[in-house]
């Protein structure tokens, strides 16, 4: 895992943990396979917020046009998708 990837994963996990704490989701375990959409932690606008903040923090832009949504609703999946983005 590259440095960039590790940093990105840490960023996503901390975003999700912060959200979980605020919403009172006590028992959530946020790991690489954690699906933030399926778990109900993020709705569609929450997902956009997350993507916006990762993109601006890491200065990249992702094209979702032909992307399978199954591929980006987990921590691992989103980080992997973002790593493929053009800066």
């Amino acid at each position: 895992m590259s440095e960039q990837e590790t940093a990105m994963k840490a960023f996503v996990v901390s975003f999700l943990i912060d959200r979980a704490r605020r919403l009172g989701f006590d028992s959530l375990e946020v790991d690489g396979d954690f699906d933030f959409f399926e778990s109900g932690l993020l709705d569609s606008f929450g997902l956009i917020e997350l993507i916006d903040s990762v993109e601006s923090s890491f200065n990249l832009q992702l094209d979702f046009t032909d992307m399978d949504p199954d591929a980006f609703t987990t921590v691992h999946g989103l980080v992997k998708s973002l790593m493929s983005a053009e800066p």
């Binding site: 919403l23 709705d43 992702l62 094209d63 979702f64 032909d66 992307m67 949504p69 609703t73």
Partner: protein, 543 residues
């Protein structure tokens, strides 16, 4: 996604005749397109003939399990089981009551009880919700599992008949009963300001009037591939299912995840007819999936459920260059949609797309608080009359009498929508928001007072208020403000209050955050000023 294969040639297109019931609409599709795909869901494609066969078995099992004619509840989403449940109920001549597995058991249990349903159809995706629901159920309920063996838990959860796929398949078919025009086709629940969801029963005559208009106005044909974006608990899903099926077209169901990012779904499935809330288009834009020419397969795009910004219509139209764009408007109480406006690049320059003119056979009036028509160019409450206006709220004569009225100087029954509009001779009706504290979150109706009530109880204070963000009718999310209490720590209270909200409210009604402040601002009427609080949120977002 759905398996790709070429269905056999279709039968020649037939003119769209009117229908008298949802069962008629379904049979029209079976007649037009017996060998075409009726449904693509979960990687499976099913022809009209096969789906009809299977739905008739469900209908037979429903009739055998409960001969009394009581409503049929369907707990499931985006599965073959859920669609079989709806169709089975329809072909058994019953009212169907869609329930959502993502809603709290307490709320869903209340709806189930109030509906009087004696049968429940459960999809495998809804097991986690079905179990506690059945355990909390008093009295017998017949439970159908349309596509599988009885799950183990079903024997110990609740009482009543349990039928699995094999039982259902071996039940002898029965004739579809003829239903009266006034019988209730489906029963939905929407947010209610007193904390109790309001039930709206839509009759066969109401929904038939809508479908007969929509299928011909939007020229649905057996060649169409129609999106199914709306949850079954949202009345716009009735258009998805039955306009598609009445036309003999194919209903294409995206996965739950694809509903948040449907770009690939539209392209892969070559969708021709689109229907969603405008928020979905806004999200697609923010994910940069609205590039010009991205969706050439679309020929018609309908939006409904919240205000459609002109900028979104513009972008959609560029992304779907072969599609017309229509803005539909209508409360559940007036059946799916009752006015429409076709947006074109030459449309007037307002920031929101007008909601246009009433469907044929319907009337609109703009009235003041006393129910008198307002002067030309003035704003007032929109009232609608015509065959799509429903009989009223389920088992609630008081609220029915308040909202379904005879206007001064008219002998018709009108529904007071609570929506503020004005009339423009060129564009028809222009929507200006609500006259009360109802908002739309992703198109879902929310009475803010209902959320306030839950938060008040959870935070043990009267000084709490919920607002939508952004302000206006099309909200992304709700936030709450509460007066800071020195005795309690802010954060502990917030998490506990939001947890309580999740226990009793559907996800879209749960605030994203509770802000603690020193006092709640009041407006000139001495009421808590929600608008000022909404502005505070905008300030925070722009920081």
């Amino acid at each position: 996604m759905a398996q790709r294969s070429v269905p056999p040639p279709q039968s020649p297109a037939l003119g769209h005749l009117g229908v008298r019931s949802l069962a008629d609409a379904w049979r029209s599709g079976v007649f037009k397109s017996p060998h075409q795909w009726a449904l693509q869901v979960d990687g499976t494609s099913i022809s009209y003939r096969e789906l009809d066969e299977r739905a008739r078995s469900i209908a037979a099992a429903i009739s055998q399990g409960d001969p009394t004619g009581a409503p049929v509840a369907v707990l499931g989403q985006r599965s073959l089981d859920a669609y079989l449940g709806v169709l089975g109920a329809v072909l058994a001549g019953r009212t169907y009551v869609p329930l959502h597995a993502g809603f709290p058991v307490e709320r869903t249990g209340g709806m189930l009880r109030r509906s009087g349903a004696a049968t429940l159809v459960v999809g495998p995706e809804a097991d986690d919700a079905a179990r506690p629901l059945l355990e909390s159920c008093e009295g017998d309920l017949t439970v159908l599992f349309p596509t599988r063996r009885l799950p183990e838990w079903s024997a110990t959860s609740g009482t009543g008949l349990r039928l699995d796929a094999r039982d259902i398949a071996t039940t002898p078919h029965v004739e579809t009963p003829i239903v009266s025009d006034e019988s209730i086709a489906y029963l939905l629940f929407t947010s209610g300001s007193t904390g109790m969801p309001k039930g709206v029963g839509v009759s066969q005559a109401n929904v038939s009037a809508y479908l007969s208009h929509a299928v011909s106005a939007y020229e649905y044909t057996p060649a169409d591939r129609c999106s199914q974006m709306f949850d079954l608990t949202f009345d716009l899903s009735v258009h998805d299912l039955f306009a598609t099926w009445m036309a003999g077209a194919c209903l294409c169901v995206p996965t739950k995840r694809a509903t948040i990012a449907p770009a690939k779904f539209i392209r892969d499935e070559e969708i021709t007819a689109w229907f969603s809330v405008p928020s979905v288009a806004m999200l697609m834009d923010r994910m940069r999936t609205m590039k010009p020419g991205a969706y050439p397969s679309l020929r018609i795009s309908l939006f409904c459920g919240e205000a459609l910004p002109a900028s979104v219509a513009q972008k959609w139209s560029a992304a779907a260059p072969n599609s017309t764009v229509h803005n539909l408007y209508g409360p559940t109480e007036a059946t799916i949609a009752i006015t429409s406006y076709e947006w074109t690049a030459n449309s007037s320059s307002g920031t929101a797309v007008p909601i246009g003119r009433p469907f044929p056979g319907h009337e609109a009036a703009i009235v003041d608080t006393a129910g008198h028509t307002v002067g030309e160019g003035q704003r007032g409450e929109l009232c609608v009359a015509g065959p799509q206006v429903t009989q009223g709220y389920w088992d609630d004569p008081e609220r029915t009498a308040a909202s379904f009225v005879i206007l001064p100087g008219s002998s018709d029954r009108w529904y007071r929508t609570g929506d503020l509009v004005e009339w423009s001779p060129d564009d028809g009706l222009i929507f200006h928001g609500r006259i009360d504290d109802q908002v739309q979150v992703m198109g879902f109706r929310v009475e803010l007072a209902e959320v306030d009530a839950v938060l008040r109880a959870a935070l043990h204070t009267e000084s709490v208020i919920t607002v939508s963000y952004p302000a206006g009718s099309a909200a992304e999310a709700l936030y709450a403000f509460a007066v800071r209490d020195a005795a309690h720590g802010d954060h502990g209270d917030e998490a506990a209050a939001l947890t309580r909200c999740r226990e009793v409210l559907p996800p879209y009604m749960v605030p994203k955050q509770v802000f603690f402040i020193d006092h709640l601002p009041l407006n000139s009427n001495g009421k808590i000023d929600r608008a000022a609080l909404s502005k505070t949120l905008e300030g925070r977002a722009n920081e």
